[in-house]
């Protein structure tokens, strides 16, 4: 069978890597549709024909669950996101990342919108954790999601960004950069939940994919992209 999987943007790259593996391992097929979690949520509420949702947070899957839009009991955390301080300048973030954050020549620090994106909320928490939120708030620019936030830094408009580690790792394949992975203690874990939607209740491919997501193979791949996986956060 074929399942339509709605993937939050931050996980798109991973999902694209998982897809051929999954299709090779089963005789199911996947179609990926990528979007911001909020968009995907609104669409599901309005009858989008998605079978599976890989959200960027726990809040919206929970709401869907409460609304009876998912197959009961299908919600689980498929990945835990991590946050990195990142700059495309190889020298900028050295051994003293907090000094880099407060350097005078940092005009803008990009974070995702804390209201919209879990990575944004995590970034805000992190800054508060280090007591820099007030001090840096003038310099903060916000993307609506991790992708935009990353673009702001990657194009050199913001000197630093608190971005998803997955994006940083991905980018470093193409360009030199400097990075500091924020310790998990600095913010609450960014748990990303997956759910099997009502539309996919009878779709075996949906169930199979969710099972596959929990598999060891899948978790290895997910971790390679800079996420932690279930339990071992």
């Amino acid at each position: 069978a074929e399942a339509l999987v709605a993937v939050s943007a931050n996980f798109a790259e991973v999902a694209r890597t998982l897809k051929p593996q999954f299709e090779a391992a089963t005789d199911h097929e996947l179609t990926l549709t990528v979007g911001a979690t909020g968009t995907l949520y609104a669409q599901v509420r309005k009858g989008a024909p998605y079978d599976v949702l890989l959200a960027a947070d726990q809040k919206r899957p929970a709401k869907l669950e409460a609304a009876g839009e998912i197959v009961p009991g299908s919600r689980f955390t498929y990945a835990v996101g991590r946050l990195s301080l990142w700059s495309p300048e190889p020298e900028r973030i050295g051994d003293a990342p907090l000094d880099a954050l407060t350097a005078d020549d940092v005009e803008h620090l990009a974070i995702a919108n804390p209201k919209l994106a879990p990575y944004g909320r995590a970034a805000k928490r992190t800054l508060k954790h280090f007591g820099l939120w007030k001090r840096l708030s003038e310099k903060i620019v916000m993307g609506q999601n991790v992708g935009q936030t990353f673009s702001m830094v990657a194009t050199g408009n913001a000197q630093l960004g608190l971005v998803a580690t997955s994006y940083a790792l991905n980018a470093e394949k193409h360009q030199p950069a400097s990075r500091w992975d924020v310790p998990a203690s600095a913010h609450a874990p960014i748990r990303q939940d997956a759910v099997r939607l009502r539309h996919g209740a009878d779709n075996p491919a949906a169930g199979a994919f969710l099972s596959y997501l929990r598999s060891k193979d899948a978790r290895t791949i997910i971790r390679r992209f800079g996420y932690r996986t279930g339990g071992n956060s």
């Binding site: 339509l4 709605a6 943007a9 798109a12 790259e13 179609t31 549709t33 990528v34 979007g35 968009t39 609104a42 669409q43 309005k46 009858g47 989008a48 024909p49 998605y50 999601n145 992708g147 935009q148 990353f150 673009s151 990657a154 994006y167 991905n170 980018a171």
Partner: protein, 225 residues
């Protein structure tokens, strides 16, 4: 790298072409009415016609999602009649595109109809042309420049817009994943190379289409006044 998948481009062109065609048809009577009416409703209708523009596309898309969904009266009626839902379908995209590009079709047409004025229509009537005939053979050709502007703006805008489309269509390959969404997705997921490629293809393609249109328009100019 591989050549990017051009499916979304064709889908976009189809969407833009269909939406443009329907828009020109729909906008014509509205623009005509606005150009010739002396009703008090004129100004309010003119203002309302421009309103789809002021809504952020994603938000407009959200509301369209709400109004077109099978839960809504309109969406339910559609399902009743056609058997399939408006949302997350190509048809839904067409409807959404029409709503948000309407002003681009109505306003230039209205301007063009006003510039034509009543004189040529009276002349046509005196030559036994009925109103529809006179419209098709005199007003429309004389408003050709307005049609060109309306067509270009609504075609291009449909090609480029993605907020509404994404919301109503849901980025489903082959059905609602148009090129603007594809490029957007590439940018969002840092696939810059693919994004560049698709952008260039889109730009070159659009440029060639527009160039052809304008060049033809230049060879068969309609000068009014």
């Amino acid at each position: 790298m591989d050549l990017p998948d051009l499916g979304p481009l064709w889908l976009s062109l189809r969407l833009a072409g269909i939406a443009m065609a329907i828009l020109l048809v729909l906008a014509t009577p509205l623009a005509w009415w606005l150009a010739h009416t002396r009703s008090r409703l004129k100004a309010p209708v003119e203002a309302a016609t421009a309103l789809p523009l002021v809504m952020p596309p994603t938000v407009l898309g959200f509301y369209l999602l709400v109004f077109l969904s099978p839960d809504s009266p309109l969406g339910a009626a559609w399902v009743e009649v056609t058997g399939s839902a408006l949302t997350f379908s190509f048809t839904g995209l067409v409807v959404a595109s029409i709503v948000y590009s309407l002003p681009f079709a109505v306003q230039p047409l209205q301007g063009a109809f006003e510039a034509v004025g009543r004189g040529p229509l009276e002349a046509a009537a005196s030559l036994r042309a009925g109103p529809l005939d006179a419209f098709a053979t005199v007003a429309a050709p004389m408003a050709a420049r307005g049609y060109l502007t309306a067509a270009v703006l609504s075609f291009a805008h449909t090609l480029g817009e993605f907020g509404v489309v994404l919301m109503v269509g849901g980025n489903i390959p082959g059905e609602t994943r148009v090129i603007s969404i594809a490029i957007y997705e590439h940018v969002e997921t840092l696939a810059y190379a693919e994004a560049h490629w698709l952008s260039i293809i889109l730009l070159v393609f659009s440029f060639l289409i527009l160039l052809a249109v304008y060049a033809v328009n230049r060879r068969f100019p309609v000068q009014v006044g």
